[in-house]
Amino acid sequence: MTAEATVVAPDIRPLRGSWLRRAGSLRITLVILPMLAAGVLLAYEGPAQEYATWALVLPLTLLAGNLMAAIATHPAFRRQGALLVFHLALLALVLLVAASRLCYLKGTAEVLSGGEFAGLKEREAGPWHRDRTADLRFESSGFTIAYKSGLRRAGTHNRVRWRDGSGLPHEQTVGDQEPLVLDGYRFYTTHHKGFAPVFAWNSGKGPTEVGSVHLPAYPEHEHRQWNEWHPPGLGQPVWIQLVIEETLLDPSGPTEFRVPAGHHLVIRHGDRRLELRPGESANIGGGELRYVELRTWMGYAVFHDWTVPWLLATCALAVLSLAWHVRCKHFSRPWRPDDHGELRGMES
């Protein structure tokens, strides 16, 4: 065995401001973590929703500041690489979540079977989201939904068609677990779907126009299958009710969502009440309303957030580095207390 002289390198780290060290104190982390927990509960479980944003933004900002200061000043982060990567990943996560809130879009859309996507019905977006949904085009070619006994929804299969940037046609079946992705916008089929009577309307002052009226979701609103419609050029709205003349979805056995073979529409316009079957027409307010056919519509949840793959990658990095840190810290020493000779008076 040879004795080696140990040379202790002088501490050449620049002297950091004591305020930065204080800001990065783990004691402050111990205050901020409960603040964040309280903020989360206040924002999402508490009654005062108007303070939700600040209840989260304040502790998250403090945590990010504390984390940055700790990374800059705490020597443990230089000694333990995995711990450093984990905390850097946490910091990146906070920044990505903030970016996500600024740039995301959430919305809903309804598309007629055989019709084209024509914009969002409802929309909620961050202030920095550049909305490109008006440029999106796809056609729904219809869908099938199977139900098990007791009207328990099984699989949804929605056929959609679209053209890519070079004009090439594409066809895809989307549904549960599989969205349609167009230009980063993800269209998910939902349990909101229903019927849509298609009308041809001629007001007598121009060409015939064809349009559809989406009735409330079925079977969710089975007993509320009516809606109002303002035909172009007609002052008073038309009230339309779908009357289904058969048991469409029988809960006693397996069944499938379909357009009812036996049905008619009840139309009310002012004091007038009339009934129409597919192909029949009626004069209303000086124009001609023809009931063409009954189709279905599918409701979509629309989502766009460019941060999602980055969030996933950062989460993966965070968990891997945490696991590596735990491995370095805790698996380098024996786990069994027995190995330390502390087991006394116990049988094997």
């Binding site: 549960d176 968990v319 945490l322 027995d338 502390e342 049988e347």
Partner: protein, 270 residues
């Protein structure tokens, strides 16, 4: 269904026998560890047979109804604890405190209806197994830590000092318990990430702050707080033990309280 229930009853009886013998062993200063381990392992075998029969009959795993969730958790927690019991002889007497906690779940299980539930179409994904599996490992890690924490707390209060004298010192138990807590943090993090991936695929959002997601995140924060507290303030073993009790309590309420008291959908069953 009758065979499944009979097998489940046999498993429960084996678990209760195992736990009861562990308790009596501690009280009588005996070490019937081989019997405790054998009864626990035997119960697990009967239980896995009950779960497998039900799985085969319904065509889906134990993920939907209260009965199925409780049954799978009793099985997974007992399995994880059984492995710890087999591997760490020094902490075996803690079984006398851990098994009664599982008795609570078993009692609840026997009172719940074994009727079939609707297996939502969004559950037909490998992420279900990954997410649920990780959550069970997380809770198992915290359960093992809890057993050691209870020993520390009892000894600090002067209870059963002689009976627990054979176990490692408080400092060593605290160290070992917090290793399991650190492992728990890894598995809980993985559980949250896998749940987010599944939610993005199934419902078009990776995180929606539904009650279960919210309380899971709060549990993650409390676990991170407990680890930071121990590191920063060099807390004593009893303080660390109380933190473990708090984390387990919150995790338990999140797992078994929130899903059954809230009407907000986490399960995608609509």
């Amino acid at each position: 269904m009758e065979t499944e229930l009979r097998l489940l009853w046999v498993a429960i009886v084996a678990y209760v026998l195992s736990g009861s013998v562990a308790i009596f062993g501690l009280v009588l200063k005996r070490r019937p560890e081989r019997f405790v381990l054998t009864a626990m392992a035997g119960g697990l075998l009967f239980h896995v047979a009950a779960i497998a029969l039900r799985w085969d009959r319904l065509g889906h795993g134990p993920f939907v109804t209260l009965f199925e969730i409780l049954s799978s958790n009793v099985w997974s927690l007992t399995l994880i604890y059984c492995l710890a019991y087999w591997r760490y002889r020094a902490v075996r007497p803690a079984a006398a405190f851990v098994m009664p906690l599982l008795f609570v779940l078993m009692g609840w299980l026997m009172l719940s209806s074994p009727e079939e539930g609707h297996f939502p179409v969004t559950y037909r994904t490998p992420w279900l197994y990954i997410h649920v599996g990780l959550s069970k490992v997380f809770l198992g890690c915290v359960l093992i830590a809890l057993g050691m924490a209870i020993v520390v707390l009892l000894r600090r209060r002067g209870i059963a000092l002689a009976r627990l004298a054979g176990m490692p010192a408080d400092g060593r138990l605290d160290d070992l318990a917090y290793r399991f807590m650190a492992l728990g943090l890894v598995f809980q993090s993985l559980m949250l990430v896998s749940g987010a991936i599944w939610a993005q695929d199934a419902w078009g959002r990776y995180w929606a702050w539904d009650p279960l997601e919210t309380w899971s995140f709060v549990t993650w924060l409390l676990l991170a707080f407990a680890l930071h507290l121990r590191l920063t303030l060099r807390t004593t073993a009893p303080t660390g033990a109380w933190m473990i009790v708090a984390v387990f309590g919150l995790a338990f309420l999140t797992f078994f309280g929130v899903p059954f008291v809230t009407t907000a959908p986490h399960k995608g069953a609509i």
